[in-house]
């Protein structure tokens, strides 16, 4: 997993609540058996004017000029600003894969759906939760100023605005630790092999039907 330490980048706003993972990456792209290559189909139904299917040459498709990510001012965005309950619906990890493949490394929103939240951190994307009022203020600032950038410092739990304001945020210590160090979850758990085996011995006594 890629480490996340500090990031200064353009912010792109997706101004609607309940953005679901079907919208982030539509189902036809879930047929891939790979982890990569989902970026060109991120927000496919909003982003293009035609219907997208796997295997199409996306560079030849007609873009929806209304969609925020198609506007040149947000071209190099690496931070996504979103509303409540971002990432709701299906558990597909293809959603964070698509966001990451497109280039997003951090998202700021008032709330996220649980499974999406977990999946994102496992792919090196930092999800920041801020008060709805602060998020609202950021939406206004981002749309008012072309080239609006934020600096996120994970070690310091701090966001810096272009105006020099600092906004602090909280993130679970265990997630922060893994993100800062780019740690592999499975490798960490396998260091606890003895605990797992001891549990199995104990549990087999209590509930043998789970082991037959």
């Amino acid at each position: 997993m890629e480490k996340f330490e500090k990031l200064t980048a353009i912010v792109a706003p997706i101004d609607r609540p309940n953005v679901d993972t079907d919208a982030i990456i539509p189902k036809q792209f879930l047929k891939s058996i790979k982890r990569t290559g989902f970026g060109p189909n991120l927000f496919d139904e909003w982003r293009y004017l035609d219907h997208g299917e796997p295997g199409m040459d996306n560079s030849k498709r007609k873009l929806n000029p209304e969609f925020v990510l198609n506007q040149s001012r947000y071209k190099d965005a690496k931070i996504l600003l979103a509303r409540d309950n971002f990432g709701c619906g299906s558990s597909r990890e293809h959603a964070p894969w698509a966001l990451q493949d497109y280039g997003f490394r951090a998202i700021i929103a008032p709330s996220y759906a649980d499974i999406f939240f977990n999946n994102s951190f496992k792919n090196g994307i930092l999800l920041i939760i801020l008060d709805a009022a602060i998020v609202d203020r950021l939406f206004k600032a981002v749309t008012a100023q072309v080239g609006y950038q934020l600096t996120i410092d994970l070690a310091a739990n701090m966001i810096k605005t272009p105006e020099g304001e600092t906004i602090s945020f909280e993130v679970d210590e265990f997630r922060k630790h893994r993100l800062l160090n780019g740690l592999d979850d499975i490798g960490l758990t396998l260091q606890q092999t003895d605990d797992i085996k001891a549990y199995e011995v104990r549990r087999r006594q209590e509930a043998p039907w789970l082991f037959s």
């Binding site: 047929k31 891939s32 979850d185 549990y199 043998p208 789970l210």
Partner: protein
């Protein structure tokens, strides 16, 4: 010591190790696998040279991509075919039991787990699918995971989890005869919202919940995720035990006696404390219909499409207007005047035998309206299909003009060939009315099986409670 909730009891029994940082390593008893969210996990195992920790707890089946017609011809879409073949190869390579496409036991993963007795009370059950919450109906802790976690479970039989807060949703008194589990859960989501359960493990309780059959409880828990809760659960009782007994994967002989004793303790203690409590009165419930693009956008069938002008929150108002534009609906339109183009009866929410029986009853000898282009019934598994045919339900559907299909996820998410065309409106027994969910530009109204069948016959939504 304060009493423990059902969630506390299952959690405590599965803690392998408390990491001391707010997380614990939790042991997983059952892992269900399907073709969409597993290929990258198996690939990860291969790349790292790892093997599954316990092969025997995994059960796999292809469901999202499988065709529901002409299965003998295989899968026409080469990309879908590759995904299903990849599951076959992975299961063969790693020795995992798979009910393949041609197997009578194949079906939607959340239908076959309980059907086989592979889902048991008190278990931790996971699957790379958000609707894994379904299995909570058995007094199990069941939740959906992403592909990284699928790989993690395969490799370690464990997951690193942060304990959720607990919520009790108590539905008191008795629901009316036309009110199904689907209506109850849609009404709950309408009340608490699609993020109302976020961060919580929800236990459903109260007379109206106890009155539900096990299949009804599965419908209820299935949609806990649509309220934002990763896990929904119902305490085990005699119905649970009776349902599980004798199924192929259920414990036998001495183990059955032990298990049955342990399962009777799978209830929240009387003095257990929940972090949040919601109480509702089932006598106020009526059949529900969603009007928008989020399951919380739901009203009673006798109501009208809500008017954004009456919403004071600007973000919500804008969301409502976007939903109405997408759905091609005008505010204040009576729900019963909305005509449908297609009807879909199926999905992990509503494709079990009781769902099909309820739909068959609602047909009442009628014919699918001439304005309805397609009405289809997709049973949840090969065994559900077989049972329905033994009961003659297939004939009732076929004579009324419904198509009678083979089992799979089908038009719930349209990964196979079953989908809505742009602008088509569907009465659907599935779980998500998101934009494009059933096909790009498709418009979904979520309803119960009886409501869907009645809409197919009438050509528009009708209040089945008023049919008498």
């Amino acid at each position: 010591m304060a009493g423990r909730t059902l969630y506390d009891k299952i959690w405590d029994a599965h803690v392998v190790r408390d990491n001391g940082d707010g997380t614990a390593l939790i042991y997983i008893d059952r892992h269900l696998v399907h073709e969409v969210t597993s290929p990258q996990a198996f690939e990860g195992l291969r790349l790292a040279g790892r093997k599954p920790w316990r092969v025997d707890v995994n059960l796999a089946t292809p469901d999202h991509n499988v065709p529901t017609t002409d299965r003998s011809k295989g899968i026409a879409d080469p990309v879908s075919r590759t995904q299903v073949e990849t599951l076959d190869q992975n299961c063969r390579e790693f020795g995992i039991t798979e009910f393949k496409m041609e197997d009578l036991r194949q079906g939607i993963v959340h239908v076959i787990g309980p059907e086989q007795g592979a889902t048991l009370p008190g278990m931790t059950v996971v699957c790379g699918d958000s609707h894994t919450s379904t299995h909570g109906a058995f007094g199990a802790l069941a939740f959906g995971i992403g592909t990284s976690e699928v790989e993690h479970v395969l490799a370690t039989q464990c997951l690193v989890q942060k304990k959720s807060r607990s919520m009790l949703i108590r539905v008191d008194r008795k629901a009316g005869p036309s009110v199904t589990a689907k209506d109850i859960v849609l009404a709950i989501i309408g009340k608490i919202g699609t993020a109302g359960g976020t961060g919580y493990a929800v236990e459903f309780a109260g007379e109206a919940i106890r009155d539900l059959s096990i299949e009804g409880r599965m419908t209820l828990c299935n949609m806990a995720i649509e309220a934002g809760a990763r896990a929904g659960m119902v305490a085990a009782d005699q119905k649970t035990i009776d349902y599980v007994r004798g199924r192929p994967y259920a414990p036998k002989d001495m183990h059955w006696a032990m298990a049955e004793g342990a399962w009777r303790d799978l209830v929240s203690d009387a003095d257990a404390k929940f972090d949040a409590v919601v109480t509702l009165d089932a006598t106020t419930f009526v059949p529900q219909v969603t009007w928008g693009t989020s399951p919380e956008m739901v009203v009673a069938v006798g109501a009208r499409v809500p008017d954004p002008a009456r919403e004071s929150d600007p973000v919500k108002r804008d969301g409502m207007q976007k939903a109405l534009d997408y759905m091609g609906l005008k505010a204040n339109t009576p729900i019963t005047s909305i005509a449908v183009d297609k009807v879909f009866i199926g999905s992990c929410t509503n494709s079990r035998i009781e769902d099909l029986r309820a739909a068959a009853v609602a047909i009442k000898g009628g014919k699918v309206a001439s304005t309805v282009k397609l009405a289809m019934v997709v049973p949840g598994s090969g065994l559900v299909k077989q049972q329905a045919e033994q009961e003659g339900l297939d004939k009732i559907f076929l004579e009324a003009g419904f198509e009678w299909r083979d089992p799979g996820c089908s038009m719930c998410l349209a990964m196979n060939a079953d989908r809505l065309e742009p602008g088509e409106r569907c009465a659907s027994t599935s779980n998500r009315n998101f934009e494009g969910r059933q096909g790009q530009g498709g418009r979904t109204h979520l309803v119960s099986p009886a409501m869907a069948a009645a809409a197919a016959i009438a050509g528009h939504f009708i209040d089945i409670g008023k049919l008498g």
